[in-house]
Structure formats: C-alpha cells, structure tokens
Symmetry: C2
Subunit: 443 residues, 2 copies
C-alpha cells in the first residue's frame, strides 16, 4: 500500500476530538477513498493532561509545541481547529510556506486576513481548504468555488449563525423579548457565556466575508462587512413582522450592484431583516443554517443543514482532508484563490434596501401628507401604507388621538432610508417610531 498521508492536528476540543474519532472509525473507508491511509503525526494542545475521555489515539502524540509540530518534515497536512487570529495565523502561514496543505475551520482568521493564508499557499504550492469555516457540515464552499464557476452569482443570502437563529425563532414562537430568549438559549447551551460574537453579528460577518470572496471572485475581509446584531430587535418588531406575514432573521447578504459610473460593485452586510414566510429561508428554524444562492443561469438554490457542533464540523474537515490528501498523492494542487474580479466593496449607505417602518402618530388630518412628504424629500418611494389605531404593545398606546402608520418602501439607497427615518423621528406629529426593519426576500 502507498505510504500514509501524515496529518498534524492543531486543537483537540469538541471538533478536534470528533476528527480523531472519525479518523479512527472510518480509517478503512478513508484509505480506500484517498488511496493511502491517514496517520496522525501529532496533536497540538494547550494542556497535555486534560481529560479527553477515551479518545482512540496514542497519548504520546500530544504536544504543546504547535509550531514545532507544524514544521516537522514528516507532516503533510495541517488541520487547524483552534480558532482565533493568533497564534493560528503564524502556524498556518508557516505550514503553507513550507508546502504543506492546510485544512482549517477558522472563519475569524480567514475573514480577518485570508490574504496572508492564500498568499502563503501560493508560495508553498500546497492546498488551503476551509469548508468547515462557514455553515458547518453544509457542503457550500466547494459548490461556490467549483460547481457555480460557469455561472454568474448575483446574490448570496444566508442564515449562518445558529445562536441568533435560535433566539429569533424563540422570539417568534413565544413573543418573548431579546433578553428572555437569550437567557433560554444560554440555558440550553445554544449561546455561550459571552454571546457577543454571535448576537452582535461578528461571527456572521466573518462568514459573510468568506462567502462574498468566493461568490464574487474578490477579496472581501471582515472590515468590509456592514454589521448589525440582533440585540435591538424587540418583541414589537417581531409582532410587526408577523402582521406582515413575515419573520425576522439575522441575514448575511452579499450582493452584486453597480456604482454611479456603472462599474460592478459588491455590498456585503449582516443585519436582522424581515422576510416573507413564503421564502425558503423563513422556515429555517432553531440552530439550523441555510444559504440561499441566486445565479443568473442556475436560478435559486438553497443549501440547508447543521451549521455547528462537533460531528458536523468534523465531517466538513474530513471531507477537505480527503481532498487535499488525494491532491498530494496525485502531486497536484487544487484551484487556488480566485480573486480576479477585484470588485470594489460598496459602503452600506449605497446598498439598495427596503425598509418597513411603524410609526405612532397623532390621529388628525394632514398627518399622512406630512409623513409622505418626508419620504419624497429623500427620494424614497413608498410601496404600501397601512393606517390603523395604535397597536397594542407600542409605547404610546392608550391615547385616543393615536394612530399607527405602517409603511413599506420600495428599494432605495440605505442612506436615504436611514435619513428618512431620522427626519421622521424629529417630526412633531410622530409620537414615536415603534419599529424599523429592513425587508429582504422580495415580498
């Protein structure tokens, strides 16, 4: 039999442990699929004597010297499941420069400085694979990277953070506010003790950068992504969405557009938005992930599955390990980074969005005309207006002369919409702006 492909594993937590378990359980299948057995050359961990249950691996393989392990001549493939920018970046750049192939699940690093990794891979001639970095086990990056290369992707819209999707699903199901739903998510283990990365949208923004880079053949980093979390989504927002036949999701959106001169651009953003219940993403509940892709010829596609967890993430890691191991045996390299399009990233203010706005207004003649005038001044076109008595649950409820105005706009530059809302807030006849939400999914 061919000599083994030797693998260095950096990190042995939930995902790393599952990688070890699967390598052991499926060793015969993996060897048949690759054409050579896989052998673990070493496992870098922070603490040697942590209890790792009954992991089917020789304890002598553990080391605290990750850099030393990465540099060893008998290592072909480096698998990194530690996360974070440093020291992971240093290890992986070292490995790639030395010609080793790298499989990583590190979305933060890829979004922060993917360029350093891609450049090091080009220098060393090894492969860089990272299917596990976005949407866990869902095979998504390879389709974007390869299957859709004969097509022109126009937009990618994803639910890529399980924690926030769990929280928003709970708010939708029970009418709870954000704080209460977060508490439930924490108790059930869906949210971490410090949920900032999830609820403020940092995790989704990193994934958005990775998806946008692949979909548009352009380097997009986390700093290019407009980011809003879900901490300010209220029970009133959720109720407003329901009244419109919608639900609220934290979406990551990467969309093709054009600047004033007609040059192609891309806008990448993460924010909560209303989508109609009839949209395929609306029924993606709990901690599931899904990514909706629109391409010129292919039309609408959706990829759905578990976005996190040890086993699903390990499945994605091992799929990549099989691919890079095969490439090494064949003496070839996969397609390298494709960033030829080099589109400019358009700021959020220029992105075309739609708003849903609920206002608590004085119930007297001329109010609608005054409100409509504000939209007109900002060149924002109104799609629908619904007028009723003030909804229960809004702050100004109870006064007889109150009325509620619910306005949905047509698409307009986000800056114009934001300025419209700003001016509405200052209007005398507007008692309060009870809900402002972007609207996606073409309803």
């Amino acid at each position: 039999m061919t000599s083994p492909v030797r693998l260095a594993l950096l990190g042995c937590g939930t995902v790393g442990g599952e990688v070890v378990r699967l390598l052991h359980e499926q060793s015969a299948d993996l060897a048949a699929r690759i054409g050579a057995p896989i052998e673990i050359a070493g496992i870098a961990v922070r603490r040697l004597n942590r209890d790792r249950g009954d992991l089917p691996v020789d304890p002598a393989l553990f080391t605290t010297d990750a850099l030393g392990l990465v540099k060893r001549d008998d290592v072909d493939v480096v698998v990194e499941v530690v996360g974070g920018i440093e020291p992971a970046r240093g290890w992986l750049v070292e490995a790639l420069r030395a010609g080793k192939s790298v499989v990583t699940a590190n979305k933060a690093l890829l979004a922060e400085d993917g360029a350093a990794l891609h450049d090091a891979a080009a220098e060393g001639g090894g492969d860089l694979y990272y299917e596990a970095s976005v949407a866990g086990a869902i095979p998504l990056l390879r389709p974007l990277r390869e299957s859709l290369h004969g097509d022109r992707i126009t937009q990618v819209t994803g639910i890529v953070n399980g924690t926030t999707n769990f929280i928003l699903s709970a708010m939708d199901a029970t009418g709870a506010g954000f704080a209460e739903a977060l508490e439930e998510a924490t108790e059930l283990g869906y949210a971490e003790a410090d949920p900032t990365a999830d609820v403020e949208g940092f995790d989704a923004a990193a994934k958005a950068a990775i998806l946008a880079s692949l979909a548009f053949h352009t380097r997009v980093s986390a700093a290019d992504v407009h980011r809003e979390g879900i901490t300010e989504v209220t029970a009133a927002d959720v109720a407003s969405a329901k009244a419109m036949g919608c639900t609220i999701k934290l979406l990551c959106i990467a969309a093709r557009g054009a600047d004033a001169a007609g040059r192609e651009t891309v806008n990448v953003r993460v924010h909560p938005a209303m989508i109609p219940l009839t949209h395929p993403l609306a029924s993606v509940g709990d901690a599931f992930n899904a990514v909706f892709v629109e391409a010129e010829a292919a039309g609408q596609l959706m990829f759905y599955g578990r976005g996190a967890g040890g086993a699903p993430t390990a499945s994605a890691v091992l799929g990549d390990v099989v691919a890079v191991a095969r490439n090494r045996l064949a003496g070839v390299r996969a397609a390298s980074e494709s960033a030829y399009a080099d589109l400019s990233v358009r700021p959020m203010g220029e992105a075309l969005t739609r708003y849903h706005i609920s206002l608590d207004v004085a119930d007297r003649p001329g109010v609608l005309a005054a409100v409509a005038g504000v939209f007109a001044r900002h060149d924002v076109s109104i799609a629908t207006v619904r007028q009723g008595s003030a909804a229960a649950g809004t702050s100004g409820g109870g006064r007889d002369d109150d009325a509620e105005l619910v306005i949905v706009t047509h698409v307009a530059p986000d800056a114009a919409l934001a300025a419209t809302v700003g001016e509405l807030r200052g209007l005398d006849i507007v008692r309060s702006v009870t809900s402002v939400l972007r609207v996606e999914g073409g309803f």
Copy 2:
C-alpha cells in the same frame, strides 16, 4: 495568453443553445476562472438548417458528423447534451478512450451503462463529469463526490423529477385526480406529450442509480432500482395523506442496510410515499427539486433548486466545463470513479419500509382482531390504528354497517408488508382496501 481549451458540443437544443449563449456572454469571466479562453471547435446537430434563433456562434461550426467531431485532434473537451443511450454512448466512449474529457447531462446513459464511460475515462486518462445529470443546476454530485468523503452517508432521499412533483403538488392543492392533474401539467408545458419516462418513474430511477453510486461508492445501475410511478396515486390517497398531516411525493431513496448475515447492503428505489408536512422535503413544491442527505457525522443536509430547464442545466454543464478545463491546463485528472465499497444491492422485498393502509371494513365486533391477526401472522408490527365511519369518497361508502380502519405500521421488510395487504384484500370482512402508501421521513 495560454492557448484556448477547445470544446466540441454534441446537441444544440434547449440546453445546448443555453451553453452556447453562456459561453459567449461570460467568455471573459470563464477565461479568468480557467486561466485560458474556451473556444467552440464544433457543434454536432441532427439538422444543419434548423432555425436556432440568433445564437452567437459561427454557423460554419455546425456539423452532422458527431463522431468525426469527437475524433478531431483539436478537441480537448466533449460536452454532450443529446441524451439517450445510443449513439451518445459510442461518441463518449470514443472521446474518453482518446483521452478527451467529457461533460454530460445524460442520466439515462449513466444509469444504464455508467461503467462503460468510467472504464473508458480510466483508459484514456481524461475526466468524466456529469453534475447536470441529476437535479439540474443544484450542485449536488460534487458535494457527494467530494465534500462528504470524510463522512458515512446513511440515506439519500430526493425529489428529482419536476413533472411528477408538479402533478402531485397540484393533486394536493386542488384534490384533483391523477389524470386531471397530468392534463394541467401538459397544458402548462411541465409534462411532455409522452409523459411515460416521468410519470412511470424511469427518469427518477436513472437519477437514483447515479446518486446511489456516488453516495455508497458502489456501481448501481437503473436495473438495480425498484421503480413505481405515480399513475396509481388517487385523490383518495392524497386525502388520506392529508388526514395524517402528510403529503405525497415521488421519492427516490438510496439507503444503507444490512443483510441477514450482517453484511452491508444498499437498497435503491423510486416510489410515491407519504411524508409528514414537517419534513423539509414536504414544502418542495411545483417543479422544484430537492435532495435530502443523511450522514453519520454531518447529520441532515438538504440541497434545493431548479431541477430542469435550459439555463439551470447549462449552468451545471458550464461549472463542469470550468473544472475539466482547469484540470487539463494543470495536466491533472480529477478523482476517478469511487466504487471500492461494492455493496450488494438488496431487492425491494428486503427493504425496510412502513405502510399506511386504509381499509373499508364491516362494522361488527371482532373485525379489528381479525385484521390485527393478519399483521401478526406476517410479523408486521402496528404503530397506530384509527377507526371511524367510512370516509366520504371511498368506493364502498354509504352502507350503515361500514367502518374505516386506518393503520400505520412500524418498519418491516417490504415483502411482508405487501403480503399483509394481499391477505387483507382476501378477507371477507374487508370490503375494500382504499389506500396503500409507503410512509417515509420518520413520522
């Protein structure tokens, strides 16, 4: 710039025309993604002087001599969108043996004799890609072929025929019978003049064979697939499904199992089945396709999109063209056929299924005991029984001493379930068996 990759196109109907159009419109992008321009060397058609609209291609490229075109030395890649077994098989075997790479959408040929194509590719050293053969534009084969190679797939369940899904969706929505729904589908262009390949399940069976081969690393051909179409699905069946909170879909199922000796086997089948409305496949309506994949580590995944049509199919073809063109430039070959597992294909009678059975019975004491006795004799365990007065719309309705029994079984070998139904039909107290449907999706 690198010298062009030269492409022979076999067939220029709906899909072929779209391939030509996309090659033209996206030539700059494709060249950048591949690293070399793509050039059409020739287009084989049956009739030279058919009106092809304003296809952006030199008319001198058309030829009726497909075999001659395939043999030309200046052809690198052959794209086949003709369909059918012969003459396509002869052309593609010739091309592959000569070392050319092949991209084909020909599901019938792959399911009938994929072995001939894979063997020819191995002999010649070129690539054989066929993403467009199953579920049109949905990137599905590459994930199965590559992304999930580190995992163990346990079952693939798909809605892979748009025509039958349109018909069943219509029956579900309107209560129409099969004939009426088929007529509507034909009028709207969703069904062909001769709908046999679709409604009898031949098309789905070919796709099932291709999916099973990839998922289980085993050669599976159309002849190995148990096939039942939808022509016998009645309005009463649809009503029964609704009463159970289910809908009826034509499913293609490839499932891992074990024989009596504990050896791993695979069962591949196409038949209509009830699935619960809560299952992700239940909401796949109209002519859409979706494939649900269960893997040991990855858990549940679903791929959704347009399964047919010129542009979606062309998108899948071109994604493959980019991949094989890149491989040729790099002087490498993609992973070849993986059939190492070589599992034996288990006959339908041994497959483990569940049945939903509606009976019109005489309403007198002892009936349930007699019926239950039949199930027990065949070692079939009953999950639920619902007893009521005979449902409206069943054939024997109207008699006062009628009752309806609705039985859902636990899983049992399909042969035992079929034998149970056979014996029930012969029972004096059973006036008629009004509906028999398999149940899938674990409800």
